[in-house]
Amino acid sequence: MTLPSVYIGGIGLICSLGGNPEAVEHALRRNRSGIRPLNLFDLLHGEPLPVGQVDALTEISALPRTHRLAQIAADQALKGIGEPPEAIILGTTTGGILTTEQLLREKEQEILAYRYHGLHSVSDYLAGEFGCSGPALTVSTACSSGVVALAMGLAMLRRGRVRTVLVGGVDSLSRLTYFGFHSLQLVDRNGCKPLDLNRQGMAVAEGAGMLLLTTDPAAATHGELLGAGLSCDAYHPAAPHPEGEGAFMAMQRALRDSGLNLEDVSYVNLHGTGTPDNDLAESKAVNKLYPDGHPPLSSIKGATGHSLAAAGAIEAVVAAICVSADLLPANTGLQTLDTELDVEPVRQPETDSVDVVLANSFGFGGNNGSLVLGKPRTKNSNTSRQLRRGFGIHGYCCLSGAGKTAETMGGLTSGGAVAGRAELEKISEGLPSRLVRRLKRLPRMTLALATGACENAGLDGSKIDSVYMGTGWGALSETHDFLERLNDSEEQFPSPTDFVGSVHNAPASQVAMMFSATGDNITTSGGDYSFEQALLSAELMFEGDEVSESQALLIGADEGHDRFSRIFDQSVATQKELADGGAAFCLNRETKGARCRITIPFYQRSTTVKVIDMLVKTLVDRQQGEPKIVAVLAGLPGALREQAEGQLKKFHQLSSLAAPVIDYRKFTGEFASASALATALAVSFVETGSVPGILTDGADIVVERHKHSILILGLGQYITAMELTA
């Protein structure tokens, strides 16, 4: 099929340069910088460093700053649009952390006060505010998050799942990011001057950029999103590949995806953070892409600062402005060009025809993304592609309180719950000690799962191309230890190691490094539906047609942290004992020889009118020859148990499905990505051809190949369904 074109039907923007697209355009035309010394929070020592702060947002609110920035930009992007977006995809790394930092300082014990901590709470909030009933996905790939969100929105629209998606990125300033980047010595005390001979780093910033993407050509008011390309350096947790290999791949893939040629690009918007390493690596990548001279290019981060997860989305909005206003923005802050970089940036803002913009964003973990935006094309020149549904699972591994796959299955089939936390030493068995010496609980769990899944698939790991990981709460140990040391040392000695490890995508980037996986590397964080979001991301992004031999790793994992899990995850707070775990799966589009097939046919917000009717219609109205559902693994998060039980009851009433239900959190314990562990259980049932009766209080259930399937239902705030076909 020829893929539909994707247009930009609305834009919203708030950053240090201004509170809306018009104000930002005005500032860019005047080559003005919004970087000033921080005054958002008080410091115990020293002079405040220059940052890109949004001064307009001053009033105190219980709603965290990130959520408010997101709402302002989303309001602008959706202005005049009659209907709510059918899906939301947001990139963020901070969530409600600024508020959480304050609550922790005040030793707040009331867990309800932390309800906006989670990254997913931002997109959930917007979904509620704007009445979006479809998936609200949260991507957290550090500073490339915004671009990854746009890339996923593009894929979702091309696949025809929906007609409109609100995409964007948002981050607020916080102590975590302010002191974190400072501890890495990546902040320039004199402001930010990308590409300058004397550049010493970035200016940490905040903001939000939002775009309404649509397949309706009549709504193409701000141009067209022509293509996207992602890559992973698989090189280092924080530093870019010195030759810019990943950056080059991302740009090349984005251009290929757009179907355009190198010479079609009128302007390159650089990631250009102003750190010595980034600007050098990115310049090398640009020169490799354009050996005979590059188009006009600049970084606007000397004007805006680096707003982390928001940056890619903000710069996509700026690219849309450049296209519609024929603006070439200057490389603000530049004084003495670093000639070693061998690039010639735009020195002063210019008005010139801008048809196509190539925009870059790169992040920790070597996560790279590039976008191609342009004036709407009159003719759809998209390539024709076969888009497949579902994946074959070729190997898997799980982790529970009982241990890895064998211990977990053994524990379950003998009727015992496997809830708990496995010993860290046991989890780390077989992982090289030098490799994991800096890693705390979640990244170790993740590496153990990834290697276990590859072993189970009989893969040496060299075939792993992409990684899709879901985690509800990310690396809690690193986040906790960073904040605690920051506090204990009176803000003087924060840990650079913990900061680098604290980003949600740190575990998945460790996996990429271990397996040299240079394809997509996407981490989603959707609370109790994080694993489902990771599967949805894989479904959207991993075609595997170019790389038919290669496989993707799909991972879901969460750590149980003594302090943080109990205050952040309201389901954990209902339990005495902590539990954690997860699972990893090797998969690709090939189902031949696979252990089973997995699909994700349903994902809706539970407030959707007649949502259970929709679920039943999707699942139970089966065509002749489709497999019969023989068991249901149902996820009822502890905090929403009553609501979830009601949903399950209604599902039974409407579907009259006789298959027994396993209320799996009773066995796995409460943790956000418990559905990953449930999926591993389902794979093992398919493998052994039987669901043990001890789990259903009945007789063993036979699972027959090609005839039967197992359903994994997510209940509560969202209604999700994954189906495993034997």
Binding site: A238, A239, S433, R434, R437, R438, F493, P496, T497
Partner: protein, 84 residues
């Protein structure tokens, strides 16, 4: 001086979590960053923090840092020379 070298060996093993290294096996003249121990730029920053916190010496210049952290012996010498 040798007491400082021994002290630093224990400290580095602890802050860099070099669980498989014993102080007596730590060669203070071997290449520290980029050497066999797998110490990289993030570890250097962690050591910068330790030097500032425990010895009151600030290293915020990359060139100086490269020299200071080339070997553990050099680090000890730098601390000795610059102690307040």
């Amino acid at each position: 001086m040798s007491t400082l070298v021994e002290e630093l060996k224990v400290k580095l093993i602890s802050i860099l979590n070099l669980t498989d290294v014993k102080p007596e096996d730590f060669d203070e003249h071997a290449q520290l960053v980029g050497g066999e121990l797998g110490i990289d730029s993030i570890d250097v920053l962690e050591m910068v923090v330790m030097v500032e916190k425990d010895y009151g010496i600030t290293i915020n210049n990359q060139e100086v840092g490269q020299k200071v952290f080339s070997t553990l012996a050099n680090l000890a010498e730098y601390i000795e020379e610059n102690s307040p």
